[in-house]
Amino acid sequence: MATLETQQLDDIIVKSRRRMLSLSTSALAGLVLAGVTKKAEAATLMDSDYLNFALNLEYLEANFYNLAVYGETISSLSTPIGITGTGTQGVVVTKGGNNYASCKVPFAYANIKAYATETALEEGRHVSFLRGALSTSAVAQPQIDLFNSFNALAVDAGISPTFDPFASDANFLIGAYVFEDVGVTAYHGAAGALTVAANLGAAAGILAVEAYHAGLVRTSINTLDRASTTPGTLTGYTQKISALRSSLANPSSSPTTQTTNGGIKNADDQGIDNTQMVALEGTSATYPSTTILDADNNSICFSRTPAQILAIVTGNSPAKASGNTGVFFPAGLNGNVN
């Protein structure tokens, strides 16, 4: 977020295009597989598979927030959260050779620290809730990477050569931004596939909380961006991250412009853009607006299939039918959606 980084930005963007292309190579190679992926998934998945898929994502989020606030992983907290289960249990990879204490964010703003603390608690509760609901079929925490992942994403998104989400309030919020909107789309995409009403109710309830978190993070980023010496930098990052997420999730489709409320040219994601205008009941867009909401032209939140989420969290775009590894999950996800 430093001025130096801002100055380097253009240069980085140019360089990162190359990296983006290399990332897209797998996308191109995988085009043929796209149909196969969806078919394979649709055939056999049960509610417990979707819940375990969600549990992998909650392990990721909960560790991120607890490291940021306490410098601890969820299993090393004074009141530890369970991480055992089926599949291969893994460690959390962080900076300093897994020096967890070094991940404690030096928060300068009391309210942002409070938001982080609340979110750490709530994501931890989601882990516990899903583990309780799944009981003995709950998957173990897979290996989670919160170090190399952010560096790679920052390059691919065209933000910076490296990125430490634990370095400052602003970096923490950008790190949180990476996850929350994705959580919303993941639960949204899974909700319709759940067959047991109670599971649907729970998934919809967690979806709402992820959306609360997303709204909280996006509003906070905008507040911080506005107060910064370089307004537009942080919101610019959100646009780049959204663009990357969208391209990973939609490797083979043309971008669709969301025109009614935010004209960012991505298929299913939009960052914060304070230059937006809306028409309301008028005949032309004359009211200054923004895009705190990440949603489509009907102001309905986006939805993503498990394959699209896998593409985002592992970087395999499009995702393979199984065995996707990379980015946040270097050893893959545990469970049948992987």
Binding site: A114, L216, E281, G282, D296
Partner: protein, 332 residues
Amino acid sequence: MEKKLNDLIDKALSRRKFMAGAGTAAAATLIIGCNNSSPAPTTTPAPTTTPTPTTTPTPTAAPLTDADYLTFALNLEYLEAEFYLYATTGSGLSSADAGSGAGTTIVPSTGTKITFADSYLQQYADEIAQDELNHVRFLRSALSAAGATVQPRPAIDLTFFAGLGTAAGISGTFNPFTDENAFLTGAFVFEDVGVTAYLGAAPLITNKASYLGPAAGILGTEAYHAAEIRTLIAGNAAASGATAAQTAALANANLIAALRGKISAATDTMISGETMLSTSQIVNCDSTNAIAFARVPNQVLHIVYGGTAGAGVAKGGFFPAGLNGNIKTTTT
């Protein structure tokens, strides 16, 4: 786990069969209860106060359809859209968006268009106004496409904020159109209720392929809005140099949250209260599982009608002539 879940749902569904109409809400309580009051679905206890068949006012009424739930949602979106449009433009829905036969909207005589001192708040308000307008248009279009009657906007009373404020214990006459801080509190009245209403209705939808996705997506949007409003209110009040109006916006929001919780708790066992807003608690969710609260239509009706207790309440509060459609009257 699945057997217990299925037993639970079977129980709920069998109750639903002999409690048509009103009973749907009770059945939903059973199903949704899992989300709020238990650590996991496996340990969900049955709610202790399920309405008995004798209290059902209309035992012969047809079961509620997906169109009824969408229409119920449309009524709430009309209310939200009117509020935000009046605040941002000084006018409400166009006649095309309000529909043929729309009721009138009563607004404070002192005017509604807010002069935002903070350009960011102006942008937030404009964005949400467009979103709620989009929801009105989407639901009208979805109902029309389904061949259902598209109910017009019912009569809406945006001066009821004063009555709501009095009931909540807000000093003076609460009018959200006076300035941007009062506006935030006014927005707070609606957004969390929208979240709970969609969450309560989502599992009742039977045509999942057509309607569940949009309902869940609108639920997400309402939660984004709710978080945005809550973050702004709590953040403003916590900032050094917070004005009296900013401090009051938070205090008033929490008075309203307490009132909403009280009204809901009096009508059902689903929510005993809401989480009080602060910078340490932005999300409105239960403190065990961090799952958002759900309200069945009966509870939402009680809130928007202004809190009159008991069954048979069919109008009041923000809706002086009641909602349009089949979900209109409180059942308990």
